[in-house]
């Protein structure tokens, strides 16, 4: 097993030249007490040592439950929060150590799409002004003038040119999200981080935005990091998916592999918990229920952080030994001591983890 750990280290440059390379990234938020003098009494370990590579032109999906650190990871990559440790290499430049003007210039190439399109647009700023602001801030003179560029952006995201003079409240949720996307691509960035880009939208509108993001990637050669809690959406858009639990990456795999052969017990449980809109599938599915809630990231469990809820938990190793991400198949990394045994069926989940209403499918 130890040689597979070494393999993981060797394999890591995922492609020949990843656009984004994150190594040992940690973001700890201090917990402060005291009235006059701030006393640090502990840290919330929102992100606690994440390594990942995002290949140029690909989409990396980050999934996990609320509080697992996926949004903080996204923001730390853009330096919207300060990383506590680790490096974020963007096209060969370590963003985590950049300062002042150099950081500002690098930001031009990294943009973000936020979850709630209403609160991420200034209600008193017209759409034209929203889209012009990044150009002015970075002193970019687009071909054919700013106005033409704004029209072009609106056209690309599927809004009429007349939208330029209007204000955010005049648009529906889906249209507002299109404005947010137009703002993100205004500077022709290389990397776009989309934090829950569709979860605030109506079901029938989500697909429009998902398709738009895919079209833009094709047209503009964008690289995406899509952060979402909805594994179905993430699987649809991503080439590679990373599953996070309590600040750590527990599994990373090509999108199809992750669905076909999830290896980490958390991923297996997460997949089995996602409802599928098909009664025949729902009735026959074997559900694995996780006990309890996410533990506090201020005081994460020892050993494997998932062991308090893991249906496959074993007597040894799980409680006291932190599992490392190991490569089990090409591009498929799993942080579980017993991943092989779980995959072979040599370890089965505790009987209590099965949903009593599901039809048992195995002896």
């Amino acid at each position: 097993m130890s040689d597979s750990v070494e393999e993981a280290g060797k394999r890591l440059p995922a492609g020949p030249d990843p656009l984004l390379r994150v190594r040992g990234l940690k973001v700890h938020f201090p917990i402060v007490k005291g009235v006059f003098v701030d006393r640090v009494v502990g840290h919330v370990r929102a992100v606690d040592g994440v390594d990942l590579d995002v290949a140029r032109g690909s989409t990396y999906g980050l999934v996990g439950e609320s509080g697992c650190g996926k949004s903080t990871l996204g923001r730390a990559v853009l330096r919207l929060v300060e990383p506590t440790a680790g490096t974020v290499e963007f096209d060969g430049v370590d963003v985590a150590s950049l300062k002042g003007e150099a950081l500002r210039r690098e930001r031009r190439r990294m943009q973000m799409v936020f979850q709630d399109p209403m609160s991420s647009l200034d209600p008193r700023q017209s759409v034209e002004s929203v889209l012009m602001e990044p150009l002015l801030a970075h002193d970019v003179k687009p071909e054919g003038g700013v106005d033409a560029h704004v029209r072009r952006l609106l056209d690309v995201v599927g809004l009429p040119g007349s939208a330029a003079g209007r204000y955010p409240h005049e648009f529906s949720g889906g249209q507002r999200q299109r404005i947010g996307i137009a703002r993100a691509i205004a500077l022709n960035p290389d990397l776009v981080i989309a934090d829950e880009p569709v979860s605030a939208l109506d079901v029938s509108v989500q697909a429009q935005v998902v398709n738009l993001l895919e079209d833009l990637q094709e047209q503009l050669g964008l690289t995406y990091v899509v952060i979402a809690h909805d594994l179905a959406v993430v699987r649809h858009v991503s080439d590679t998916i990373g599953v996070m639990y309590l600040g750590m990456l527990v599994e990373e795999a090509p999108s199809d592999d992750l669905y076909a052969t999830p290896r980490h017990p958390y991923t297996i449980s997460l997949m089995s918990a996602i409802p599928i809109p098909d009664p025949d599938v729902e009735d026959l599915r074997e559900r694995i229920l996780l006990a309890g809630d996410l533990p506090s990231p201020a005081n994460p469990p020892s050993g494997c952080r998932f062991h308090t809820r893991c249906p496959f938990r074993q007597e040894t190793r799980c409680d006291d030994e932190v599992p490392l991400l190991r490569t089990l198949a090409p591009g498929h990394r799993v942080a579980c001591h017993w991943a092989e045994e779980v995959a072979d069926g040599r370890i089965t989940p505790a009987a209590s983890a099965f949903d009593a209403t599901a039809v048992p499918t195995e002896a």
Partner: protein, 358 residues
């Protein structure tokens, strides 16, 4: 241990209300319900328009729709929780034959909590933040079951244990902010179940929760229905939740039911273009990847009034001329009811046509 295991959740063995006077009809019958919000100087807004459905004991009925489709207002109207002013409610809502619309406030207060209960979407805003969980759960017991404080707190602890809250005696002293989202929703369900209501209305009970917690709550509801014969009205926008839980599904659009069907036909062969569109536009975890999604064009705000046609017509790909001139009625077609001039073809029809030709 947070999950509702069957051995812990013995709601079935709990002494239920034994057979009342034989009543043959459905437990809840909603007939031609309409809710209109009026405001001086503004056009009336008809949020619910001629909605009819029935629920039998032990049955789970789903009410599906997007925001603004009127599903929550329907639930509030059934519970009698709409404000008294500025609202016109028409039609009829009968619980075991008893008309609820127009019933006195006293009578409704008697029924609410005892015969019918509701679980709201956001457990943080529907629990009182300055009152302990114990008081909020025992309140129902003391009001409806005339228990003393001591009896009620023993019963409340056992309720919390049954819905899967660990260490319930300590939790009774906690305040809502000390509980996690899933725990709060469980506490809310516990207080809704306190008097073993025969009708439970859940308005998006899992939307604010993570999927693993959602799975726990849905499992709990499923057991409840199976073991205690509670009738469950499930309001949600998530078709996945409906697929695994509901017997019958009503799809609402712009205040009216556009399709009603048992869940298998509904998901297997949706007849209304809106239902079909919804199913085609959501990415499925088990679908082959790379297949593009087919979104419904426009947004839920692009409607025309039902008086002048089909509200879905502006977004519909199968629109015909009749759609924008007159409103379709809810017609029975096979085992479903569909409100559409040009419904999607039933399954196997193309095959049948080919057979005839051959």
């Amino acid at each position: 241990m947070g999950t509702g295991r069957s051995e812990e959740l013995d709601l079935g063995q709990a002494p239920g209300r034994p057979g009342r006077a034989a009543y043959d009809g459905p437990l809840l019958a909603v007939d031609d319900l309409s809710v209109t919000f009026t405001r001086r100087g503004r056009r009336d807004v008809r949020a619910v328009d001629g909605v009819s459905f029935a629920i039998r004991p032990g049955e789970t009925v789903g009410l599906v729709g997007e925001s603004g489709s009127g599903k929550s207002v329907t639930a509030l109207a059934v519970m009698g929780l709409l404000p008294g002013r500025g609202v016109r409610v028409g039609g009829s809502v009968r619980l075991e034959g008893e008309e609820l619309l127009g019933a006195s406030d006293d009578r409704l207060r008697d029924l609410r909590g005892r015969e019918m209960a509701m679980v709201f979407q956001d457990p943080m805003t529907s629990l009182n933040p300055v009152v302990s969980i114990g008081v909020q759960v025992t309140e129902v017991l003391r009001r409806h079951r005339d228990m003393t404080r001591e009896q009620a707190s023993v019963e409340a602890a056992s309720l919390l244990r049954r819905v899967g809250i660990p260490d319930p005696v300590r939790r009774l002293k906690d305040y809502p902010h000390q509980l996690s989202g899933g725990m709060r929703q469980r506490a809310l369900i516990a207080s809704a179940l306190a008097c073993r209501p025969r009708l439970l209305i859940c308005d998006e009970p899992t939307t604010a929760l993570d999927v693993t917690i959602q799975a726990q709550i849905l499992d709990l509801l499923r057991q409840l229905v199976r073991e205690s014969g509670t009738a469950l009205l499930m309001i949600t926008h998530d078709l996945g939740v409906v697929a695994g839980l509901c017997d019958t599904v009503h799809v609402m659009y712009s205040g009216r039911v556009v399709e009603s069907a048992p869940r298998r036909p509904l998901f297997g062969s949706p007849r209304h273009p809106y239902t079909g569109g919804l199913l085609a536009s959501i990415p499925r975890l088990d679908a082959p990847r790379g297949a593009p999604l087919h979104p419904i064009q426009g947004s839920p705000n692009d409607t025309i009034p039902w008086e002048s046609g089909c509200a879905f017509a502006p977004r519909c790909e199968d629109r015909v001329d009749a759609c924008t001139t007159s409103a379709p009625a809810l017609e029975v077609r096979g085992n479903a009811s569909v409100r559409c001039w040009n419904p999607l073809p039933p399954p196997g029809r193309t095959a049948a046509v080919q057979e005839v030709r051959a």
